[in-house]
């Protein structure tokens, strides 16, 4: 057990706690808090992978902005179903767990098992810096960048139209 492995195991346990909490907590506010935990620790995992800019963006965009949006909507919506708890004996619960288990085992066996041995990679870790990402984003990916900006504009206008009092 090296320090890196311990750090990864601690982070992934926190992230899995968050993920389980999103699915199985009773009230939406608790689910949102668990989702904040998941997003934050996932940002730290991105740091471990060397993607520094994306880790910071993850913490700012997901754990900050998107969660504020979720909490606003939870606050505005009347909490109608506090008893929205997954019933353990329910039919769709059992079948979804069965399907998820089958998919999980197959992907784990045939995709992930071959990647479990240690790779000995010698690799520059400069690919996650803002400099590299900005250079690529504004040269090679400039056209998708513009399309995404148009998409965000349409999203702003559309959500305002949807959330207006009368339409």
């Amino acid at each position: 057990m090296t320090l890196n492995q311990i750090a990864f195991i601690v982070l992934s346990c926190l992230a899995l706690f968050g993920a389980v909490g999103v699915v199985f907590f009773n009230t939406p506010v608790r689910s949102a808090m668990a989702l904040v935990v998941n997003f934050f620790t996932l940002g730290l995992v991105y740091f471990m992978l060397g993607s520094e800019l994306i880790g910071i963006t993850q913490i700012m965009v997901y754990a900050g902005a998107i969660m504020v949006l979720f909490l606003f909507v939870i606050m505005i919506l009347k909490s109608t179903n506090d008893t929205d708890k997954p019933q353990l004996g329910e039919r769709r619960f059992i079948f979804s767990l069965l399907g998820a288990g089958v998919v999980f085992t197959m992907i784990y066996r045939y995709v992930i098992m071959p990647t479990m041995e240690r790779t000995n990679v010698q690799f520059t870790r400069t690919y996650g810096t803002p400099q590299e990402i900005g250079k690529t984003l504004f040269t090679q990916y400039a056209w998708p960048f513009e399309i995404v900006s148009m998409l965000l504009l349409v999203g702003i206008v559309g959500s305002i139209m949807l959330a207006k009092r009368r339409f």
């Binding site: 890196n4 999103v22 939406p28 505005i76 109608t80 999980f104 959500s159």
Partner: protein
């Protein structure tokens, strides 16, 4: 110019942690998100589970970007790393737009029917 993490003990992470660990974390998160989408009835929580699945996919992209395996073009691993990160950036932008529009739709439905339960939203059923 100098990446921050080379000065931390995380620097040797690729030698000590196999790629499969990251993929396993991502797979477990994706499965939990899928189960949550099926099981939960509150539409806001369903959206949270969709976000969980999107983040799991992001983690997969970043893991495959960081580890140059046989599946990635080995001739130019830097190209693979940058491409994975670009995909993650675009997924983040699209997820933000999706959340804004989706929560707007949930608000509109709630205002129209004064309740928000996924099982009861069947008015468009033919």
């Amino acid at each position: 110019m100098i990446p921050i993490l080379t000065h931390l003990p995380f620097a040797a992470v690729f030698d000590e942690i196999p790629l499969g660990w990251f993929l396993t974390l991502s797979l477990v998160m994706f499965t939990l998100g899928a189960v949550g989408v099926v099981v939960r009835r509150n539409p806001v929580v369903v959206f949270m589970c969709i976000e969980l699945m999107l983040n799991a996919v992001n983690l997969t992209f970043l893991a495959f970007a960081a580890y140059p395996t046989q599946m990635v073009a080995l001739s130019n691993p830097g190209e693979a790393a940058i491409t994975g990160q670009m995909v993650v950036i675009f997924v983040m932008a699209i997820a933000a737009a999706e959340v804004a529009v989706g929560l707007g739709i949930i608000m509109a439905i709630f205002r129209l029917r004064n309740e928000a339960d996924v099982d009861d939203m069947n008015t468009m059923r033919g």
